[in-house]
Every structure is written in structure tokens, then in C-alpha cells.
Amino acid sequence: MSEKLSGVIVAHTELAEALLAAVQAIAGDETGLVAVSNRGSDLKALMKRIDEAVGGRPAVIFTDMPGGSCAHTAAALARGRPELRVVTGVNLAMLLDFVFHRELPLEAAAERMVQTGRVSVGIVAR
């Protein structure tokens, strides 16, 4: 069996750590996820931080806002790196789903995250 996927959450200020804490509170400590903040870093320093978190393993990188420094840097890092996929619009629903589907092939996992994330956005009361 192949190695399970890793997940790296890259987001503004404390968002990544907070999302990870919420995932752990719901799904337990074995999440396969690590959190990276863009705090105090230029693009180059942030790229190094993400690369270290990825650690050379196949990974889905979850970023918050398209066009933000996190998504920008992750996309630049993933260029020419077929073992990486970058997803934008990270939310709790997709991270929880990731924790239980880390055995999926990379491409399928990334596509699933986008679907799960989208489906979780809606109006539930009016």
C-alpha cells in the first residue's frame, strides 16, 4: 500500500493553526495535517516554510484566498512538483474529509477536497 497523503494548511495570521486545532478537536490528533502561517514573511521565506512542511512527500496544500500571499507562494512552489496539489478556499468541512481520505491518489484527493469544500457552503436558515 502506498503512503498516505500529507496535508499542509497555509493561511493568513493564525487561521491555519486555528483550523488545525478545530480539526483535531473533532477528528482527533492523527490528522496528517500541519499548519503554516504567513506571519512576518515575504514570499521567499514563506515558500521555504511551506517546502519544509511538505517534507518531500506527496501532499495537498490547502490555502485560504486565491490571490493572497499564501496561495501565490504555494502555487509557485508546486510548479514542476507533480507530487503537490494546491487547493484554495480551505474550510473545516474539506479538512475533516481529508483526514479520512488520505489514501486516495493525489489528483482524486485534490478534486474531492474542492467538491467537499463547495458543498459545505450554503444558506441553512432564512
Binding site: 512576518g40 493572497g68 501565490h72
Partner: protein
Amino acid sequence: MIVLYRIDDRLIHGQVVVGWGQRLGIGFIVLVNDEVRASDWEQEICRMGVPPSIEIVFASVAEAAARLPEWEQDRRSGIVLTPDVDTMVSLSRGMPGRRRVNVGGIHAREGRTERLRYVFLTQEEAAQLKALAAEGVEVSAQDVPTAKPVPILELV
């Protein structure tokens, strides 16, 4: 016209597009950087998430110096963005009228010391900004429009 000359090593990102872009009603952003000017894929990444109502112009340092008057006469409001102090200093001579530079984000790197949460400068960068201020350019640090601008002379 150019309503903001900004130094920001995160290039085109949330604070620029959303923070300043929304508030100032920006129609175009000029990114002055030789490296991005020469790279299609880096340009593509820079365009990500930018609403279609904002035009992105990629310029080399030389092109920017030549085209400043054209951008200053543009009917839309624009931002000129440089990733470092050097580039802004080289453009400053071409700025018309009341010259102002916004230090929006220069982050930690070896040799730099922290001046503000989002401003880290080497001695040389600090001296360059001080010299710019001495030439009559209003240089202040301000990451987002709602923050209080901090005059550069308080930081160098």
C-alpha cells in the same frame, strides 16, 4: 492617475487588491519587477484572484520609468507596486507633484532588523528611505488603509 506608490515584497496580494483596491476604487495595478516581467507563469500566479475590473500591468524597472507619465495621466486610479526599496528609489525621480511612498510590507530576512510588525530593514534600506524623505518625498509605513500611517523617520 497613480494614487499609491507602494513597496511590498508580497507583490500583488490580499492587502493590495482587497485592502487598498476596494477602498481606493483601483482600476489598475502596475507591478514593477524584472523577474516577473520576464516570466509568464509568475504573471499568471500574480493574476490569480484579481477581479476582472482591475487591469494588471507587468513592467520592468526601465519600462516603468518610461511609462510613469502615461500612468499618471490615466483616468483610472492605479497602484504602482515595487518589491523592494531599490526599485522605488529609482522610480521616485519620475514621480510628479506631491511625492508619496507607502511602505506596505518588507519582511524579515538576514541582515534586517524589525521596525514594525511588517517592516524589517537593513541599515542600507533604512538610509535609502531616510534619504528619500530628505528629498521631500513623504515616506510612511502603512499596511492597510485603516491603519495609522507611521512616518518613516520614526522607524529609521
